[in-house]
């Protein structure tokens, strides 16, 4: 009985975790004993089985060189936490560049970004028939003169009841447009700044957790007072196995690579958790675009109305 349950959960895992290690379900079923021990320990008792984390003397991370050092604005300092234990352990204090994380949040730009993200992929399938599409209406209803009544050419003209609609919705109508490059750039800056200012931004050293049990992640988030929905952002798009497995059953814990970071997702999730690597990459990219020599070519590939 126990073996059957374990086999079922193992196959479920293997089907859902596709990005980490591809393990065919057949081999898992036959070699269930290999995973049995690990699963038994993770299902039964989390706290007892976790290895005690041994750390060098803190602070581990204590300095960070900022690219394009800010002249008159002070860098914002944030704690670097761990993901090894449920309780938060501060590993160090790092600087964040003020031009990325301490900009005056432009609510109008954030709104524009959210509107763009929702609208650019929207296609309206609403449709109405025009006078030539409505069934019938090919024949002149009555002769032009003599009847004493008004003159008409077709019973489906727009002035008739049941006639065609002149300026109605025509399916499919795309609402695609590209928001300006700098608007999108400033949207990211504004949202990151707002998140940091509202204590919804946390930095962790990496997304490695000791177990793939979903309840570990839930306990961790609850313990630290992170919001109901958490967005974990790392530089790499292939995330560690444990956090992928743990967050898989939750719709509100999401993993995202840095290149997928967007204003809508940051607002949708209450808490934003960045790894150190993600912070480095984010700052490097955003600061490059803010200080690049050829600003015009930044938006070149998004120009749609010019050849």
């Amino acid at each position: 009985m126990a073996t059957k349950i374990i086999n079922k959960t193992v196959t479920e895992f293997s089907l859902r975790i596709t990005r980490c290690f591809f393990v065919p379900s057949k081999t898992i079923q036959t070699n269930a004993t290999l995973f049995q021990e690990r699963l038994e320990t993770s299902i039964t008792n989390v706290e007892e089985q976790l290895p005690t984390t041994i750390r060098p003397p803190l602070p581990i991370i204590h300095s960070r060189k900022l690219a394009f050092p800010p002249k008159f604005k002070a860098p914002r300092q944030v704690w670097v936490s761990n993901m090894d234990t449920v309780e938060e352990e501060k590993l160090g204090l790092i600087d964040l560049h003020p031009e990325v994380f301490a900009e005056r949040p432009r609510v109008d730009i954030i709104h524009e970004n959210v509107r763009w993200q929702q609208l650019y992929r929207h296609v309206s399938y609403a449709n109405t028939k025009m006078r030539y599409e409505v069934r019938g209406g090919g024949k002149k209803p009555r002769q032009q003169k003599g009847s004493g009544r008004s003159r008409h050419g077709s019973i489906r003209s727009p002035i008739w009841r049941g006639g065609g609609i002149v300026h109605g919705p025509r399916s499919p109508t795309p609402y695609f447009y590209m928001l300006g490059f700098n608007t999108r750039l400033n949207g990211l800056r504004s949202t990151l700044s707002a998140k940091l200012a509202q204590d919804d931004l946390h930095i962790v050293d990496s997304l490695d957790i000791p177990t793939d049990d979903p309840s570990y992640l839930e306990k961790l988030v609850e313990e630290r007072g992170w919001g109901p929905a958490v967005l974990f952002v790392d530089d790499n798009d292939i995330m560690p196995l444990n956090i992928t497995a743990a967050s898989d059953s939750y719709g509100h814990y999401n993993l995202m690579p840095v290149y997928g970071l967007n204003v809508y997702s940051m607002l949708k999730h209450h808490t934003l958790v960045l790894t150190l690597a993600a912070v480095e990459r984010l700052e490097e990219r955003l600061l490059f675009h803010l200080n690049r020599n050829d600003a015009a070519s930044a938006g070149q590939k998004y120009r749609l109305d010019s050849v």
Partner: protein, 179 residues
């Protein structure tokens, strides 16, 4: 089976534009559809000679390439234009006007023409007490031009607009203020 997609339109174009020349029809470019159909590379003596130059000479190529990021300005030496570098310490004022990424003073002349040529002087990249800055610049402009100046303060986007062409006056005032 190799199918030759010959660019004979090149030949036809040449025919139309200039007099027919037998040599011109040898300029047909052929693009073969598969790798195996293409003529293979011949031995090196069939091609033009080349010699490797020392890799130290790459610096002559690199210095021709434009910089990807705005380079810093030279600290010493005078500029023959009236550009002054941004100061190292900010002035002791409740507001601050940041230079652009090219170290220019952020004052622009806009033409917001509906029917007439309405010139607007715009000051961007403002931080701090924007109203105090507006008051200071406005009083200076009214003193200099001896006429009333109309202004707009946009607190969200943090810019100030003055109706009229006062770009040089505003720039001078900002440089004197120490921005």
């Amino acid at each position: 089976m190799a199918s030759v997609a010959a660019r004979s339109f090149v030949f036809r174009q040449q025919m139309n534009t200039r007099r027919f020349d037998f040599a011109s029809c040898l300029n047909i470019k052929s693009f073969y559809s598969s790798y195996s159909a293409n003529p293979k590379e011949k031995s090196p003596e069939n091609y033009t000679q080349y010699h490797e130059v020392s890799s130290d000479n790459w610096k002559f190529v690199e210095r021709l390439k434009p910089p990807t990021v705005v380079p810093s300005f030279p600290k010493n030496g005078s500029c023959f234009s009236d550009w002054t570098p941004p100061p190292d310490t900010p002035p002791n004022l409740p507001y601050f006007v940041k230079r652009t990424k090219n170290f220019m003073v952020p004052v622009y002349l806009n033409f917001e023409a509906v029917r007439n040529q309405r010139k607007i002087t715009m000051v961007k990249h403002i931080e701090g007490d924007i109203w105090a800055l507006e008051k200071a610049i406005k009083s200076h402009l009214e003193e200099v031009t001896k006429r009333q100046v109309v202004s707009q303060v946009h607190e969200v986007a943090m810019y100030i607009k003055f109706r009229g062409d006062y770009v040089l006056h505003v720039k001078k005032w900002l440089l004197n203020a120490g921005f």
